[in-house]
Symmetry: C2
Subunit: 461 residues, 2 copies
């Protein structure tokens, strides 16, 4: 239970050690992520086009693949101090339980009211919207973590916040909705009749439970059709990975403080915001040839965009009104089975991570829902933290890797991202306890059918 | 937003600064709390009698009013490191929002999965049960924070954990129940037909929603009727205040680190565990004449044991099977109105705090439910943390005191206890948002009727 180096259970950096700049991993990538395309022309979107959807500063960040470091504005830095630096935890009890020679660390991002890492980007996006003099922002939320984070951020900067919440989550998670209301947000179940695209989807699929892709379409329409509003997104985008780099920068600094070096870095991957943020500075070293790391993305077997998708241009949303992104995708028409890790039920993957994966700079693996909850419950019992289903995907693979070390006797250092807490996911835990949780693994035919519907891109056909 | 002394937003002590001893405030009290009495004889309970209900070591702590410091066993100290030291937060944003010259600090105990300070005593009680070679423990829970904390602690020491959960909470808070199941606890809605006292209460009050007093009676019966089991309680008892002194010891050490001294210390008070723990070391200085502090207990106007109760011997439980304690009480037959701060719905108050209050060493005030939720929502929006309804009683009064400073221009330092988070209380927030929350203030007649039923104590009549 003790360590030669006397490493504490929780490594807290000082507030003065909070990163002052985000790190933009794209700057160090030889093969840059493919540009976003205007679906009408097949040409890369311009700053002007993008600024109609996003705040201008965020549009700039989205297109910036050359500047490695971008200053964190003072207001955001000060807000970060309310809940950051986040602890890097040495999982002594998990190591003991697994009886492994591996050293396990996790970067815990759940100690803020949004319950996850999403707040890191939400506060940045709200800040730039305020700076631009906007009235408000629109967004979608699935599991509710992003919507909660954005509500908190908008409340802080006194911005109107309109959240389109996937209908099934809106109904199954009334308490998530209530947290957003506490922070003053307007929450609408999606699809709704408040947008044209929502009405169209409702007409085509009456009684649908909604999906993240639908909710994105509605939120984008709401943004572009209201004066003084822009759309913000909690994952997938390169700007989001940029903001989330604060996770990796802190984790790296905390490890270095104790002369530790990670061998394996593991994160769950839905749209890629957490994994992208966690690995950024480590990947930077790898890209520059300064160090090597095994990096593993973990996705649910019911929504395996990296492990079983295809690398192609696709829409980010179901309504097909967003720019096209080149990414590993199951097809924007893909409707994932009801896996309880709502944050991982997305058809595509960050363009940055997709390119890194395609370049064999990281690995990916998929796991089933029940094995994830088994790992989650074990983790809760030995480490005390009740993990979110999303985060538990990383826990499962971290435990597997630590057990491999037990077999080989290797004393590897494993770092994984514990993105958030599961307080609003107890319905899923209940199903698990009652033995009513099902696994969904897609057939090759299902995936092929969905991928066959990928959009034709003008000029790329 | 900055401070001359450069005080960070969150003051984290090092793990090496975690207190190694609990502080027993009774040792410094001139007027000791009145002893627990055996209701059959009217005589002070003996260690032997008490050891039939509680673990022996805990029974000793319960009776110990002379030793000022008690070592924290190594296993407990190590467990504490998983979530302690807890941060002392400087409420810069709240100060700014209130535009007050006052300096506001809060000791935040919500950053662990039980969501509150309750874990501090739960782990101690589970440890001593394990040390004694017991099979398991029984307890009651109202809002569910104590039950969750005890489930975590028992899971850690591999003890059986039987929780009697007030029926209305069991039904309204299925997710709390599910967290306890995640940690392996058995949860029974109370009153139940698994105990004699439960069956009796059900026969007398069919369709009752249950109460904390009933659940205590059931848990005690379950403990004494099973081989190898003892009963544990999350508040009221002097042993619990002892364990909770870790809150105050850390808060005091953190303030001293920055040469700060509290003028006013505020905490919510149900059974008294949080307030008692927070104030212990400060009260110790006050009792020894080394310093002075204004100390304020905050209770709900619907359950005002200190402000409107009477100081007398009473049962701790509704079933009248526990020892008698001298305390400020509304009568053990009192059934509080459905205030959403379940942790404050208790008819009595810790004997230690009752004596200190009777000796005018601390003040008490009561607040209504709606003003508490108004303060809670404001706090959430500016400080980012979603507070539990219980904790929000302290927030309300801290804000009031800070506003008084604004009027007088005094630069007082206010410290309050933020005992936990409100993630499982969103039903209450929903009622508040929908304008459906009611206030309950008791009439003098109601209180008099309840107090008239206080037990007759042999030899004290």
């Amino acid at each position: 239970m003790s360590d030669k180096k006397n490493i504490p259970y929780k490594i807290y950096l000082e507030e003065s050690e909070l990163p002052k700049q985000w790190y933009n991993v794209r700057a160090d990538m030889k093969n840059k992520p493919a540009p976003l395309l205007n679906p009408a022309t097949g040409k890369p979107v311009t700053l002007e086009e993008l600024s109609g959807i996003f705040c201008e500063e965020l549009a700039k960040q989205e297109l910036d693949d050359t500047n490695a470091y971008i200053d964190i504005p003072e207001e955001i830095h000060t807000f970060y101090k309310m809940y950051r630096p986040a602890p890097l935890v040495r999982a002594y009890y998990l190591e003991k339980y697994l009886d492994t020679p591996a050293k396990i660390y996790y970067k815990f991002e759940g100690n803020n009211t949004s319950g996850s890492h999403k707040l890191n980007s939400a506060i940045a996006q709200a800040y730039y919207a305020k700076e631009q003099g906007l009235k408000g922002v629109t967004t979608e939320t699935g599991a509710g973590q992003w919507g909660t984070a954005l509500s908190m951020a908008c409340s802080f900067f006194d911005l109107d916040c309109q959240v389109y919440m996937v209908k099934v989550s809106y109904e199954q998670k009334p308490f998530r909705r209530e947290v957003m209301r506490t922070y003053g947000a307007n929450v609408t179940p999606s699809p709704s009749d408040t947008t044209e695209v929502g009405r169209k989807i409702l007409a085509e699929f009456p009684g649908t439970n909604g999906s993240l892709g639908c909710a994105i379409s509605e939120a984008v329409e709401a943004a572009v059709s209201q004066e003084g509003y822009r759309y913000v997104l909690g994952s997938v985008l390169s700007q989001v990975l940029l903001h989330q780099s604060v996770i990796g920068l802190e984790a790296k600094a905390a490890l270095e403080k104790y002369n530790e070096k990670a061998d394996i870095i593991i994160g769950c991957a839905g749209g890629g915001s957490n994994l992208g943020g966690l690995i950024s500075p480590f990947m930077g070293e790898k890209l520059r040839g300064e160090a090597d790391y095994r990096i593993i993305a973990v996705e649910p077997s019911s929504c395996p965009s990296l492990t079983r998708g295809t690398y192609a241009y696709d829409f980010c949303d179901t309504g097909a009104i967003c720019p096209l992104a080149k990414m590993y995708t199951l097809g924007s028409s893909f409707m994932p089975a009801p896996n309880h890790a709502g944050g991982l039920r997305y058809h595509g993957m960050s363009s940055v991570l997709s390119q890194l994966y395609d370049d064999r700079l990281m690995e990916a693996t998929s796991v089933t829902q029940t094995e994830v909850f088994e790992a989650a419950e074990k983790f809760a019992r030995v480490e005390g933290i009740l993990p979110a289903p999303e985060s538990s995907h990383a826990i499962k693979v971290a435990m597997d890797e630590a057990l491999k070390c037990k077999e080989t006797g290797e004393e590897k250092t494993i770092l994984f991202g514990l993105t958030g807490t599961g307080y609003f996911d107890m319905y899923a835990y209940e199903k698990f306890h009652d033995g009513k949780m099902e696994n969904y693994t897609l057939s090759d035919e299902e995936i092929a059918a969905s991928i066959a519907k990928l959009p034709k891109v003008p000029g790329l056909e």
